[in-house]
Amino acid sequence: MMEPLGWGGILARAAVQFLPVWIALAAVFAVSIRFRRRLGLYGKLFDSGIGMAGFAIVMFWVFTALFAGWIITHDPLAQLSGMRNVAPGTPLASAEGLYPVYLFGGDSLARDVFSRMVVGAQRVLAIAPAATLFAFMMGITLGVPAGYFSGRLDTGLTFLANLVLAFPVILLFYLLVTPEIRATGIPTALAAILFLFPILFLTILWNSRFFTNPRKRSIYIGVTLAVGLWAYSGLAFNADPLGVFAMDPNLLNVFVAVVFVNAPTVFRIVRGLTLDIKTRDYVAAAQTRGEGPWYIMLWEILPNARGPLIVDFCLRIGYTTILLGTLGFFGLGVSPESPDWGSTINDGRRLLTIAPHPAVVPALALMSLVLGLNLLADGLREESLKD
């Protein structure tokens, strides 16, 4: 049996576990810095210290999620006897065939905090960016027409958006993410509506661009519809004939709630940007040229609104991460043994004064990811303003 590790030993061993991440980070940075002049806005990110720091933190967690299988030291659900609430660096009592030490200690059910943190990153990064993307699809598909056409459509949609925004988020979660509501099928119905927007968006996007070239249009729209509806049937209704796309009902409920909360804010941002951009000369030129309204909206206005939208996208992933943590913190929509950061913080807080590490480790992980995203957004904003 080995001695308990000191902090130096713990950090050294953790650094070794993260080896795949370091290699991947080094590779990404080397390639990106080498070719940064040819990579547009992404390349410019490497001119700003803040942006680079943020990007490094974000990519650290992305690679951690990708290589989680290699990084973890124990099964995140395995409970080893005698390891309850043990301090970081405690060696296992009998370590046959197992990693000999709990790097960041054990939690109240004698599971490895380090491995749970790593797998938690996987959970967060699987949901947060996707949910944000869906919220953006919905916000854009509704926000651009609302800003462009104005009138009744705008009034109605703005009223609806304000309605959702006037709800305190936690109350909405308590109403929308419950086992009872899953029994009524409301999440599925909401998903059926929300998941339709990406397909709708892409179809309109291709159609407005290529309607003069029917062959190309048919191919693009055909592929979009085939893949989109296939994924749609699996994700929203869990009825994918091939069984590739599927979503756990709990997860679907959480996903839908998070998209639902985020979409109105995106809608307001997109609408505001559209109102601003539609007065520009190039829009007037396109109108004079006889372009259709959807072409102008999606191929003239939207590309010119991309700067603020990209920045907001980064910020919003961070915000979605916070929301997911909140859901976990209140135990909504997650199974009890789920390793996601919010529920681990919630589990750990009961014994905070005796064994702080089970709560502090995921808390710092969550904070660093959100901080990285915020720094990245700040760097992107600075660089895009320089143009």
Binding site: A166, P168, L171, T326, R349, P356, V360, V370, L371, N374
Partner: protein, 361 residues
């Protein structure tokens, strides 16, 4: 101005109606009612018994009608027990069944009965709001001045070292949700085994075992520096960063204005320029932001009250939602929605009032 106010008020009432209807429908979904029947009567009821219980207690009618009754615009339902005793929404609550009013909803001041606290919804919410009021008051006292000072100092000289470091502080605080900062603060300052407290106790700098208290339950009776610092700091930190960034943005914009340059060229000292010329204009935008922060603070309140076990409004909301206490949850959402809408109105009106360049017409 009067027309603007009237229009805003109409929208507000409409929004409040839509939202309460939404909450009503979501809390009164069939599975929730079944759960209610099982907790109120008996956990081992058959489906048929649940149906009869719901029918006898007036739940087996369209949600829209019952929403009207809850609101007090439709007469309350009436019926009778199997043994002939008259029952009904208003009759059950009145001391004398014969003299019961026809309407008894929120508009008549009848908010219903909380099944968790075994008291009237008004009492439960009132108690919570009182406690939360103190929390919010101290959060505001701590958060607003520090955020404004932070923002003004950072925005005074754009791009300086002060600006860089203060902006980073602001970013860090906005990246730290309450459940993270709360946990970290408790461990760092209120744990007898970790963080600062054991060190300080060893050196004899603090008399107790911890620097601050990790729960705020005792603050219900008496608020002290010892038991209230951590909850207030936790909420204030998260909101502070955002307000500080907004203040900074508005301050840098003002500092680039021509009249600031004129004042500087005229020979006014930098200090005077900031205090006299810049501040007033720079603080218009943050005012709106502070008001719009209220919905977010409400979130923070729910998390912090749960984390520190402080029995205020947020804690009441969590209890109501967690225990399927339908009428209390409805009451809580009405309060929450009204708070949000009123602060939005104040922020709009205040913006117009503070900024002479904007005229409502």
């Amino acid at each position: 101005m009067a027309r603007f106010l009237a229009r805003r008020l109409v929208t507000m009432v409409l929004t409040a109606l839509c939202l309460t209807l939404g909450v009503f429908v979501l809390t009164n979904l069939q599975p929730n009612l079944v759960k209610l029947a099982k907790t109120e009567a008996s956990a081992r009821m058959t489906d048929a018994e649940v149906e009869t219980w719901l029918a006898r207690n007036g739940y087996a009618r369209p949600a829209l009608v019952r929403y009207g009754e809850w609101l007090g615009v439709l007469p309350g339902w009436t019926g009778a027990d199997p043994d002939g005793r008259p029952r009904g929404r208003c009759i059950d609550r009145a001391p004398d069944p014969a003299a019961a009013p026809r309407f008894c909803g929120v508009l008549q001041g009848n908010w219903g009965f909380s099944t968790v606290f075994k008291s009237g919804v008004i009492d439960a919410i009132g108690r919570g709001l009182g406690a939360t009021g103190w929390l919010m008051l101290w959060v505001m006292i701590v958060m607003v001045p520090s955020a404004l000072v932070l923002g003004v100092l950072a925005g005074m000289r754009e791009g300086s070292a002060t600006d860089r470091s203060l902006s980073t502080v602001a970013i860090v605080t906005t990246a730290t949700p309450e459940y993270v900062s709360g946990v970290v603060l408790i461990v760092a300052l209120a744990s007898s085994t970790a963080g600062l407290s054991p060190l300080l106790a060893e050196w004899g700098l603090i008399s107790g075992r911890t620097l601050f208290l990790g729960t705020a339950t005792s603050a219900m009776e008496k608020i002290t520096f010892w038991n209230f610092t951590l909850p207030v700091t936790t909420i204030a930190l998260y909101g502070m960063g955002y307000i500080a960034r907004m203040t900074r943005a508005s301050m840098t914009e003002v500092m680039r204005e021509q009249y600031i340059r004129t004042a500087r060229l005229k020979g006014v000292s930098f200090r005077q320029v900031v205090m006299r010329h810049a501040l007033r204009n720079a603080l218009i935008a943050p005012f709106t932001v502070i008001m719009l922060q209220f919905p977010w603070l409400l979130n923070g309140v729910v998390i912090v009250e749960t984390l520190f076990n402080y029995k205020g409004f947020g804690w009441t909301l969590v209890q109501a939602a967690g225990n399927n206490d339908i009428e209390l949850l409805l009451g809580c959402s009405v309060v929450a929605v009204v708070v949000v809408l009123v602060t939005q109105l104040i922020s709009d009106v205040g913006y117009v009032y503070l900024n002479p360049r904007i005229r409502v017409s």
